[in-house]
């Protein structure tokens, strides 16, 4: 596939502390030099169902969100969401009960999945109403955006690797 659309979607609410991690990653990436095929999107607290309308069949998507799983704060999870279902113990926070995990499951059922779908999930610690990330989450945001930047640059300069994880 030549010149696919690469879509980087950060999901979250910056007014609920670490729930802003996904948005922070996208904002960090906005300061980087990325290939022209890459589109950055801050999906602030949008309901999961809206996510399905953001990508096309030929899109390559990286979705970044905060999660609550009990792991140490700042833990970074990476999933090829088309190769395996998301682990059940990962809680993507949502105010209206239809969050990222539900959206992905629905996309599968309705066959509205993009060509590639990588999910970055950053473990948050403090989701109470306030502005600002915990220090561990702040660090994880920097690490994740660096990884994504490199991966995306690689995607856009060569053919799609056999496994999405080859990009690191």
């Amino acid at each position: 596939m030549t010149n696919p659309e690469v879509l980087l979607i950060g999901v979250g609410n910056e007014y609920c502390g670490d729930d802003g991690a996904g948005l922070a990653v996208v904002r960090a990436l906005k300061t980087r030099k990325l290939p022209p095929a890459v589109r950055l999107l801050e999906a602030e607290m949008c309901d999961g169902a809206s996510l399905l309308s953001l990508w096309r069949a030929q899109s390559q998507v990286i979705l970044i969100d905060a999660v609550s799983s009990g792991a140490p704060a700042g833990t970074i999870y990476r999933f090829d969401a088309l190769a395996q279902p998301l682990p059940a113990n990962l809680c993507f926070r949502s105010t209206h009960g239809f969050g990222v995990a539900d959206a992905l499951a629905l996309a599968y059922t309705l066959n509205q999945i993009p060509f590639a779908l990588l999910v970055y999930a950053i473990e948050g610690q403090n989701f109470t109403a306030h502005i600002g990330l915990s220090p561990e989450v702040e660090k994880a945001v920097q690490v994740a955006s660096e990884q994504i930047c490199q991966m995306v640059s690689l995607w856009c300069t060569q053919d799609m690797p056999a496994s999405l994880m080859d990009g690191e």
Binding site: Y15, C16, M45, T95, L110, A129
Partner: protein, 430 residues
């Protein structure tokens, strides 16, 4: 022999804030119910202090991910009230169109992704979609049409940035509206089927004698308005809200219970709007309601799902009607001078009346802010419905009763914690 049963439903880690339901049963009768699902937006009220009045729409939009337009519109109208400005004509028309987009998006998400699975015995929308893919696909397409309104008028993919005190930053030309108009006409027709579909769901027998509260307007089905009415004689200016409604701290939690002073609990939202303003629905929406089996009066909260579908149809119909008469206003926003004043406004969010009040200093900086969301106002009514629900369901198996409780709560489309397994059941017997 006294048999006491306690049912405690604990919060899940997957929800923000806490969703708690505690039920105590003594000798076969419900003796106590404690319920809480929402935290009041105190953080945002504090955050707004010291900010300029112009910043209110951008800050309040982040209170709720599914209804930012509602928060923005109540905010800008409250500021305009304080500063003595009335936004009318084409600018008000555009606000109404934008708000229709939000009703559409919010209601469709709730009807098909969150509530319909309850009625059909599915654990969630994914399972329902396996058996009914076309229904769910159509719902998502219609929802996308609603999103298109918000994207077009709101100015950004997901989150509206075009709204300001006094109007908009940019307003479209008539020609720019044309593609959107085509989409909305298609969507309006496609929604007729969705209304019919909701009318055929199985409904529990459940009736409550509600005091319905909604905005009222001389000609419009209410989204914005100056009067607040009920079916038991309330008829006040929206600015008099705090003289008639009071928030009470509930002793057992940080929940707030909103009451009509001297009267008690009330219901706000689609069912209230429908019962109080049926005659204001467009003929198409009235007919669809009738065809789906709804009378102009409805006291069964489970049928809120049909009412939401009717409101989606009305919103498409109304958006088309308004766009067809649109003429581009100039300027895109009214200007105003800051002054020391207090202003308040109520708009009809998808979930019901949303009240905001701001006190400004002479530079237009916010001294105090008060925000009362519809879900907070319905909390006490939900608890009363649950009382009846549990009392009726004492003979049901625990799983079925839990499911019925969840379905009862979801009648209100509550903000925060509406996930599929919202309530985890703990049973203590003594």
């Amino acid at each position: 022999m006294k048999k006491t049963k306690q049912i405690r439903i604990d919060p899940l880690t997957r929800v923000e804030g806490e969703g708690v339901l505690y039920v105590k049963i003594d000798a076969g009768k419900v003796s106590d119910i404690k319920f809480k699902i929402i935290e009041p937006p105190r953080f945002f009220e504090a955050l707004l202090r010291g900010r300029l009045f112009r910043e209110a729409p951008d800050i309040t939009a982040r209170i709720c991910g599914i209804c930012p337009v509602a928060y923005q519109t109540s905010a800008v109208q409250a500021m305009e009230h304080a500063l003595g400005v009335v936004v009318d004509g084409q600018l008000r028309l555009l606000r109404r169109v934008l708000y229709c987009g939000e009703w559409i998006e919010s209601h469709l998400l709730h009807i098909f992704m969150l509530h319909a699975p309850d009625f059909l015995g599915y654990p969630d929308a994914m399972h329902m979609a396996k058996d009914h893919p076309e229904i769910v696909k159509r719902a998502l397409e219609l929802k996308k049409a609603g999103n298109t309104i918000i994207k077009f008028l709101g100015g950004r993919e997901i989150h509206p940035v075009n709204v300001r005190v006094g109007g908009f930053y940019r307003v479209p030309t008539r020609q720019e509206f044309a593609p959107l108009l085509d989409t909305l006409k298609w969507a309006r027709d496609a929604t007729l089927q969705a209304v019919q579909w909701t009318g055929q769901l199985p409904f529990p027998d459940f009736v409550q004698d509600y005091e319905f509260v909604s905005l009222h307007h001389p000609t419009e089905y209410p989204i914005m308005g100056e009067r607040l009415i009920s079916n038991r004689g309330l008829d006040i200016a929206t600015s008099a809200y705090e003289a008639h409604f009071r928030e009470e701290q509930v002793p057992y939690s940080t929940a707030l219970h909103s009451t009509l002073i001297g009267r008690g609990s009330y219901l706000t939202g689609p069912l209230a709007r429908y019962n109080l303003n049926f005659a204001r629905l467009s003929p198409l929406a009235q007919q669809a309601a009738h065809d789906a089996g709804l009378e102009p009066t409805c006291k069964n909260p489970f049928k809120s799902i049909i009412v939401r579908a009717v409101e989606v149809l009305y919103a498409f119909d109304e958006a088309v009607r308004l766009i067809e008469q649109y003429e581009r206003p100039d300027p895109p926003a009214l200007s105003m001078r800051p002054r020391a004043a207090t202003g308040m406004a109520i708009t009809e969010a998808p979930r019901g009346i949303l009240y905001q009040r701001y006190q400004l200093d002479d530079e237009g900086r916010i001294l105090t802010a008060k925000i009362v969301p519809p879900t907070a106002q319905n909390q006490r009514m939900v608890q009363e419905d649950l009382w009846q629900c549990v009392a009726q369901g004492l003979d049901m198996p625990e799983d079925a009763l839990l499911h019925r409780c969840e379905q009862t709560i979801r009648n209100y489309d509550p903000c925060i914690s509406c996930s599929t397994h919202f309530l985890r059941l703990h049973i203590e017997r003594s």
